[in-house]
């Protein structure tokens, strides 16, 4: 019953910060960003199109550790963000790198909205930068800068919305359409980008008491899941009506009871929704990956513990694969990273392996 699993060849040499699948459902390419200052592009398919341990296609070195990566409009362009304060676009065919904008602190996340053709980056300087990448033809184009009340820790986008989870348990939900309009209007070549105060569509306080670790939106645009450093995941809905809000809930996970009876609570580092079934995976500091059905409030399965913390999880666009990035010492950052401990596992999911139990 348990799915087949394999490790990807030549993994990064330091902790993995992000891992994404190609948006093309027929492709088995993944990009991985790492603290070893590189972005890796793998193709899991071999010459015969069979998905396996794959091969490393390309490696792009940055000046500083890379904290996030995402695919752009197609699988030939990626955007990266990192500790060098820059947001870059990399054309995979030509290996050409373009700096889209520079923040004033490390850039934690970057997402691409296909529907609105926007690249949104979130940085510890407490701003969002919103870019229109096709304006890349115009090298002078500048992003608009949206100030945030706190440092952003995680962002996630659906077809219509953008969620920004910040420090102090703040959470903003923006309407992407409004952001796109603003970006289009503000696209006058101001020297350092235009600062635009944008009123979010919704302001919320996280339903979790501890620092938000990750957010991920449901593929059906109905809601999102968020996780905290205190082994807990919350599932909430966008719809502000009281009925929908009454449906939100949170649950404990990624905990272990030590021999002395103390509950050891791990951060939930990563969340990812299944593109087809709407279920989601969580990856924790305990090295456990679990699949959950957010609707029926059930755990679908939990995979055998990995040796080290799970730093990122991602489903392929087809929903047939689940990639899991395992890196040691990700929580405290103090551990040296011994060679061979950073690994990327890919699970071939059975047809119904990630399907919710309450058959939809």
């Amino acid at each position: 019953m348990t799915s087949h699993q394999f490790t990807v060849v030549s993994p990064p040499t330091d902790a993995i910060s992000a891992l994404k699948f190609s948006p093309d459902p027929n492709s088995a390419r993944i990009v991985v960003s790492s603290w070893d200052k590189n972005v890796y592009l793998y193709d899991l398919r071999d010459e015969n199109g069979k998905v396996g341990e794959g091969k490393l296609l390309q490696k792009f070195e940055h000046r500083a550790p890379v904290l996030d990566v995402c695919f752009g409009e197609n699988e030939n362009e990626i955007y990266t963000a990192g500790l060098d304060w820059d947001v870059r676009k990399i054309d995979l065919n030509t290996s050409e790198q373009t700096v889209l904008s520079s923040h004033e602190a490390g850039v934690r996340h970057v997402v691409y909205s296909r529907e609105h053709n926007l690249v949104i980056s979130a940085s510890w300087d407490s701003t969002l930068h919103i870019h229109q990448p096709d304006a890349g033809a115009n090298p002078d184009s500048q992003p608009i800068i949206v100030p945030l009340p706190s440092k952003p820790f995680s962002i996630s986008a659906t077809a219509t919305k953008l969620i920004v989870a910040m420090a102090s348990r703040a959470l903003h939900i923006y309407d992407l359409k409004a952001l796109a309009l603003l970006t289009a209007q503000a696209d006058t070549a101001a020297p350092n980008g235009t600062r635009v105060e944008v009123e979010p569509w919704q302001r919320r306080e996280s339903s979790l008491k501890f620092m938000t670790r990750a957010v991920a939106c449901m593929p059906d645009d109905a809601g999102y899941a968020s996780s905290s450093i205190e082994g807990r995941v919350a599932v909430e809905w966008f719809d502000p009506s009281p009925e929908s809000q009454a449906r939100k809930y949170a649950f404990k996970c990624h905990r272990q009871t030590a021999e002395d009876g103390v509950d050891v609570v791990y951060p939930v580092n990563a969340l990812a929704f299944h593109p087809v079934f709407g279920t989601f995976a969580s990856g924790g500091g305990d090295g456990v990956v679990a699949l959950w059905d957010g609707i029926s409030k059930r755990r679908i399965r939990q995979y055998q513990k990995y040796q080290h913390s799970v730093s990122a999880v991602a489903f392929s666009a087809s929903g047939q694969h689940l990639a899991i990035a395992v890196s040691p010492g990700f929580e405290d950052g103090h551990d040296e990273v011994p060679e061979g401990t950073v690994k990327i596992y890919v699970r071939e999911l059975g047809e119904t392996e990630a399907k919710g139990k309450g058959a939809k």
Binding site: D86, Q97, S102, M211
Partner: protein
């Protein structure tokens, strides 16, 4: 009467399906079967859940070319692969019996513990259900077991030079027959000794017997498998004189119950005590579901009035029982309490910061330190070309071919 029932009755407990391999009991058969599939019949290699040990064995040998030697997660003496168990089917008769006995004695023990803890009369005592139930629950085998146990202790005491705590357990009854238990023939004499006693001092004799039933049984029953004792005994001579004691002993208890019960059947009187103490307000509260002072008072009443006569007479044994019960209670308390205290507040966060995310913390490490040089920023436009150092040429060609 009309009171909330504290727990399941013995019948309900005996009805519960249970797992042959680990002696756990379940709410219904379905859950038991899924438990067995998940815990005992699961293939470690592929996580497939089989229905029976035989099925797992075949699966292992055919699919994984392995041999099933024992059932996983089973009790040490239940690991056998040869017995085909599915749910409650296939459990050997003797094991089934032993289990029933164990449940029954555990139930009694719990009942007794509760009695001692709360000072309440046994549940349903007012209806007289308990006294009639008890003799039923202590059938021949139980008494025999006790007898055997006694003999064992006697022998042990004699061999080991006796110890203080062995004799007291047998208390009043055993004192006249210290040597009698050592050899089997004199055992027949015990009923004779006990005979006069019932008439001489009715409560004295009976209550030790009644009291001993449980402490006598308890040290054995918790250990789990009492079957060897009753099963072994009937084959031995004791059967012959095991039988006489019962008819002889049982009449006295029933007699005693009449003499003793009035004490217990003070119960009708108890409301007379209790009722006046409940004023209208309290009564109302009780009706509303609050159970205020009256209930704590009730045990007091029963202790004060009904229990007194019997208690005084049976103090030595009673003390032992309560002592034993307290021991058990304190032990369980000792083990369970700290757990409770721990699980509530004891949470150890692996990462505990309020505003600093793990990535930020990591970024502060010297090996990741990076301060952008603002002066070179103007040159950034040209920089990217040089920056692509990490590009891998060979794989690049692969990329080209795939496109």
């Amino acid at each position: 009467m009309g009171k909330k029932r504290r727990g399941p009755s013995l019948e309900e407990l005996l009805e519960r399906p249970w797992c042959y391999y680990c002696e756990r009991d379940f709410d219904d058969l379905k859950i038991l079967i899924s438990h067995q599939k998940a815990k005992h019949f699961k293939c470690d290699n592929c996580n497939r859940r089989l229905n029976t040990a035989g099925g797992l064995s075949v699966h292992l040998s055919q699919v994984h070319k392995e041999q099933l030697t024992q059932v996983q997660n089973a009790l040490p003496n239940r690991m056998g692969v040869d017995i085909e168990i599915f749910g409650m089917e296939g459990i050997p008769e003797d094991v089934l019996k032993a289990h029933r006995q164990r449940v029954a004695s555990q139930f009694q023990q719990a009942e007794l513990d509760r009695q001692h803890a709360t000072g309440n009369p046994p549940t349903g005592a007012s209806s007289g259900g308990q006294p009639t139930k008890k003799p039923k629950l202590e059938p021949v085998s139980d008494l025999k077991k006790r007898l055997a146990e006694h003999k064992a202790r006697r022998a042990e005491a004699l061999a080991g030079g006796s110890s203080g705590d062995v004799t007291p357990t047998s208390a009043v009854q055993s004192t006249p027959t210290p040597g009698g238990y050592a050899q089997s023939p004199p055992v027949a004499a015990t009923p004779q000794y006990s005979y006069p006693q019932p008439y001489g001092g009715p409560p004295r004799c009976y209550s030790p017997v009644g009291g001993q039933q449980v402490p006598g049984g308890s040290p054995y029953t918790p250990t789990g498998y009492p079957s060897p004792y009753p099963a072994g005994l009937p084959a031995q001579p004791p059967v012959s004189y095991g039988a006489p004691p019962f008819p002889q002993q049982q009449p006295p208890p029933s007699d005693n119950r009449f003499t003793g019960l009035p004490a217990a059947s003070n119960l009708p009187q108890r409301p007379a005590f209790a009722v006046p103490s409940v004023n209208a307000h309290e009564m109302q509260q009780m009706h509303m579901g609050h159970v205020p002072s009256p209930t704590p008072a009730a045990p007091g009443h029963s202790n004060g009035s009904s229990a007194q006569p019997t208690e005084h007479v049976s103090t030595p044994v009673d003390n032992q029982i309560s002592g034993a019960a307290n021991d058990v209670a304190s032990k369980t308390e000792a083990t369970s309490k700290p757990k409770k205290e721990k699980t509530k507040p004891a949470i150890r966060l692996v990462y505990n910061e309020d505003t600093l995310s793990p990535e930020e913390k990591m970024a502060q490490l010297p090996r990741y330190a990076y301060v952008p040089d603002r002066s070179t920023q103007t040159a950034l436009g040209e920089l990217p070309g040089n920056v692509i150092v990490g590009r891998i040429q060979e794989s690049d060609t692969v990329l080209d071919t795939t496109h």
